[in-house]
Amino acid sequence: MTALRLEGIVKSFGKVEVLHDIDLEVAEGEFIVFVGPSGCGKSTLLRVIAGLEDATAGIIEIAGERVNHVPPAKRGIAMVFQSYALYPHLTVRDNMALGLRQAGTPKPVIAERVAEATRILHLEPYLDRRPAELSGGQRQRVAIGRAIVRQPKLFLFDEPLSNLDAALRMNTRVELADLHRRLNATMIYVTHDQIEAMTLASRIVVLRDGRIEQIGTPMQLYNDPQSQFVAGFLGAPSMNFLPGGVLGKSAETAGIRPERLRVAPDGQLRARVHHVEHLGGDTNLLVDLADGHRLTLRLFGQHEHAVGEEIGVSYDEADVYLFDAAGRRLR
């Protein structure tokens, strides 16, 4: 069944159109990630789905029901915000219960759902604290709990991990994935971080300047990007782009992923090492070609290379992606 359907969504602020003709269909149980650089319209699109912004044109359907004119509280959604947005004057328990109470849910049901969410998120010790007495990670868990208790048809996440430190972000990411498996709920997640997108999504929607650039599973997007933008956005370090001529191609641009390049004395390219990053598990090599173009190589394991060293770089023809002047993939 379709959990969410967008058809021809347009959003303008005054004369500025920020979303152009967005079409999207999300099946029940999918984890959809909207990803793109800042200003691409991904948060606006989420707000339109939530009903916090009105769509200028187009149709929004949640679970088969048209909700263009339904207020956010009645759309059957729950949203988790980047800044947690907990009610500062309420305890953790009341923060989670408020939405249900507002909807007139019977008290025993509220207590049961709050207890369930508390158990899933390990929030028992904090139930009677106020948000000010919690750490960032705990606050984010409360915010997620507030979403869970509503048992929504659609979970919306607006960059929920951006305010957490790196270690906590990783843990919370895993918890979110667990949560998705456990609740089997439909989730829509906005982020600018391609790692979050790749690790969490069942399908990724790449947005650029208010348009959908490509939709697909993480591996489809990684292996088969439709444009230079998608190719460069997903994968870290990002794809190397060179003028086609450097690799002997007629295309405007040729791209090759850093992990597909190898150091080989008889490689097709000659380069000089500019900088070496030792990460333990992998080694990143930044090298300059004779004509000044810089490439990144991602080598697995530990490799000793001196800055200034002359090396050969080899690649497989099959790993080269070709793009035209407009950034479209040439096949």
């Binding site: 207020p71 956010p72 729950a78 980047q82 009610y87 507002q102 507030r146």
Partner: protein, 279 residues
């Protein structure tokens, strides 16, 4: 304070400056207070001397309490000040919320229009206000004063509060909307508590001028039963003879409620500032 950063000389200088300022600020109040407890002769003989057994007298307070309805004046002042502050804060905050929260045509223009009042003294319109109050049959009522003071305080209130409300997290308001809170609940329960420091600032800014005002009570509500404290005290100041005992006593008593209101608001102010600082 951190010991390593504590320089005795700096500490001394800072305290010296603060103490000097405190003395300068409190001196007039102190002089009023001590002289209100002295006989008339003693006031003029040695204005700076403390009241002693010889010069101590409560004649001023007795005069004040005997002549005119001092407690009535006091009550009038209190009603006018508190009611005006209430309306200034309520309507100011509502207008500020609308201006900062909703996108509508003419938003900026409306904000400018509301802020314009900061620059135009309301007293310029005294004659028109008086005519209006006469037409509305509001002359010699406290409502007239409350209306005028509310109008006088709103521009600054809207200006300050809308700046603060822009700083309140959008996410919080949106979370409330998704949880099904009405705009009123969002305004009163989520936004207002977060702008409490700004509300205290506005209240303090508006309170003293209203409490001390002589102009509008004199013009709009000079009747005996609507006299405010400031106006009531004027009976002791004559063109040729002034009853200094009574004037000083009345002033001493007038300081008190203003002081209490100020303490209430300024504690709010400090609490708001410190709670915001550590997030």
């Amino acid at each position: 304070m951190n010991k390593a950063r504590r320089n005795p000389l700096n500490l001394f200088a800072a305290h010296a400056i603060l103490l000097t300022w405190t003395v300068v600020a409190l001196f007039p109040v102190f002089v009023i207070l001590i002289n209100s407890f002295k006989t008339r002769k003693a006031i003029f003989r040695e204005p700076l001397a403390l009241p002693d057994a010889d010069s101590f007298s409560l004649i001023g307070y007795q005069t004040v309490l005997r002549q005119g309805d001092f407690f009535g004046y006091f009550q009038n002042s209190m009603i006018v000040t508190v009611a005006s502050l209430f309306f200034i804060l309520l309507f100011g905050a509502m207008a500020a919320f609308a201006l900062s929260e909703y996108r509508f045509r003419g938003n900026t223009l409306m904000g400018l229009y509301l802020a314009l009042g900061i620059m135009i003294p309301i007293r310029i319109g005294t004659v028109a206000i008086l005519e209006m109050m006469v037409a509305l049959d509001l002359v010699n009522t406290l409502a007239a004063l409350i209306l005028v003071y509310t109008a006088q305080g709103l521009p600054l209130a809207v200006f300050i509060l809308s700046e603060f409300m822009r700083g309140v997290s959008d996410d919080l308001k949106n979370a409330g909307r998704i949880d099904g809170l009405s705009e009123y609940v969002i305004f009163f329960r989520l936004v207002l508590p977060l702008v409490r420091p700004a509300m205290a600032t506005v209240a303090v800014f508006n309170m003293i001028p209203i409490w001390n005002d002589l102009w509008f009570p004199l013009i709009l509500a000079p009747a005996e039963e609507t006299k405010t404290l400031t106006l009531g005290s004027q009976v002791f100041i004559g063109q040729f003879v002034t009853d200094w005992n009574a004037v000083l006593s009345a002033l001493s008593m007038a300081i008190l409620p203003a002081l209490i209101l100020y303490v209430i608001f300024s504690r709010q102010l400090i609490r708001g500032i410190t709670s915001g600082a550590v997030k």
